[in-house]
Amino acid sequence: MEAKTLFDKIWDAHVVKKVEGGPNVLYIDRHYIHEVTSPVAFLGLKTRGLKVFRPEKTTATPDHNVPTINQHLSITDELSRHQVEMLKKNCHEHGIVHHGLGTEGHGVVHIIGPEMGLTQPGMTIVCGDSHTSTHGAFGAIAFGIGTSEVEMVLASQCIMQPKPKKMRVTINGELGKGVTAKDIALYIISKISTSGGTGHFIEYAGSAITNLSMEGRMTLCNLSIESGARGGMIAPDETTFEYVKGRQFAPKDEEWETTLANWKELKSDKDAVFDTEYTFDAADIEPMITYGTNPGMGIGVTRPIPTTEGMEGSDKTTYLKSLQYMGYHEGDTMKGKPVDYVFLGSCTNGRIEDFRAFAAFVKGKKKAGSVTAWLVPGSKAVENQIKAEGIDKILVEAGFELRQPGCSACLAMNDDKIPEGKYSVSTSNRNFEGRQGPGARTLLASPLTAAATAVTGVISDPRELM
């Protein structure tokens, strides 16, 4: 039999039909929805007179628009409130489970799915959100879709997709002190660029990957989309099974045993061929920081901003336009530059492990007076865990305060906007122009680098302060 990749195995098992000269009709096991990309899909269903085909396979939560303080009050922004209410109404009408604001199940959609055990190995998972790639950490095929496709899944539990190409990114060796999954991701994107993964689905492999916790794996897979790839995945192993076991929607008892035996087969065959392969050495990876306006513009935190030497034409114009937006110059050293805001949170780094790392770092230190810090748990469950572990006290002692769960300053659809021209070291995933508010300047980094920066007030290398 032909050797298959992990991706092939899951994909092929979900193809309902191959359309002549067209895409595959792909069956979807798990569908997550949120308030921004679903209303027009529900409207579409209504216009066509359709019902949701398999409501039990969809789970909803409002995350993009929600405030991160005073969540018990009504949302003040009228449009946001309407969108959030609309989600609830649509879910109610169609029998979809909805984890509303303030409830125990609420949070960023990519955080709550894994927490509840809804995300499992071998599944096909989609959501109208590009960071659906997060769920690939469990050895699932998970990718973001547009609103038309959300409507397709609601209407038929299927979407039409051409099969992407396959890429493997192998990271061998051990990560140095202070280097995290976030740094691996930013490093990879800085090497292969924001379009290097386009048309592909990535499988991450190598000892530096298998040594990551589930939280770390989610961070890495989350950022796959920033390399242009549809998604990223990691073969499930004991770390994965251990994480899933016992969660609310995980298989139980006998079912667990049979399912587990099947999950253990989920790996690429030895001779499987990938269309594209990259190999990197973990020892080459430093704590990373971005200096430009796309996630591929990242460097080791101690390095200078690359010069335009060797660049030509529109490459050079685009690069300079980006530096101009950031207020930086070629050759500048990033370390030591002042920062106004620090944001810990998002579906990239809003998990309990991120808060543990941040708190462990700032323990006994003090937040710099010049820095405004927004610490936003990814979900209610993360918030509860933070309190249960006493992390909130450590944070308060160091001069930080905790907000309530949501996407927050990751995309600034709520009030958490970075003011124009201000610098923000952010643990989120996108540093596009205006992503964190019109005119805001975003520097992507790990929770450790964010913590180091928060206590010094300038871009800092966490290794020097640990």
Binding site: R48, A155, S195, T198, E433
Partner: protein
């Protein structure tokens, strides 16, 4: 979503010679709060197009009266970033029917095709020729022939073939969408669910 059937168009084009145009620029997040698909064209490229006080930035191509037409020509890696279909809606709603670039991000490309907006991939060299042609004469016309899958610079009579999946081509030409197709094959999907090996999923 219903859209106009796509046939051959002949029109000038609007140049946007910037690389990595991401969906946050095409339509910033704060304009995603609508619950209907209406009026997104007004906020297309909002922060590049308007000053903070709402007055237009005169040097932005969409505000330059010398440019017009139903084709938007972008630099490489167009449409990267978020999966928001609002980006495709905004471009379509503004009046474009075709976006040309040497490279598109995957999700954007799919979203465009699902909404009657044709993404045309041309070679980097040909893309430059298109920019040059517009620079020389902003009124110069281009022809996009979907049936023959050609993009032609009419002034120089230079043409390049582009690729499109035959199924998607059929959909665009007939104004069809995937949802109709999927709904029609429901019995097959039910059959698939019955026979689906439960190997990977807890069923």
């Amino acid at each position: 979503m219903a859209y106009d059937k796509f046939s051959t168009i002949k029109t000038p084009a609007v140049p946007l010679p910037i690389e990595n145009v991401d969906t946050d620029q095409i339509i910033p997040a704060r304009f995603l709060k609508a619950v209907e698909r209406k009026g997104f064209g007004d906020n297309l490229f909002r922060d590049w197009r308007y000053q903070k006080d709402g007055s237009p930035k005169t040097d932005f191509p969409l505000n330059n009266p010398k440019y017009s037409g139903k084709i938007l020509v972008g630099g490489k890696n167009f449409g990267s970033g978020s999966s928001r279909e609002h980006a495709a809606w905004a471009i379509y709603d503004y009046g474009f029917r075709v976006v040309v670039s040497s490279f598109f991000a995957d999700i954007f490309k799919g979203n465009a095709l699902n909404n009657g907006l044709l993404p045309v991939v041309v070679s980097p060299g040909f893309l430059q020729k298109i920019f040059d042609a517009i620079e020389k004469d902003p009124n110069t016309e281009f022809e996009v022939d979907l049936e023959n899958q050609t993009f032609t610079i009419l002034a120089g009579d230079e043409s390049e073939q582009f690729e499109i999946n035959p199924y998607k081509k059929h959909c665009l030409q007939n104004g069809l969408d995937d949802i109709d197709y999927l709904v029609e094959m429901k019995s097959q999907i039910v059959e698939f669910e019955k026979n689906k090996s439960c190997r990977f999923e807890a069923c």
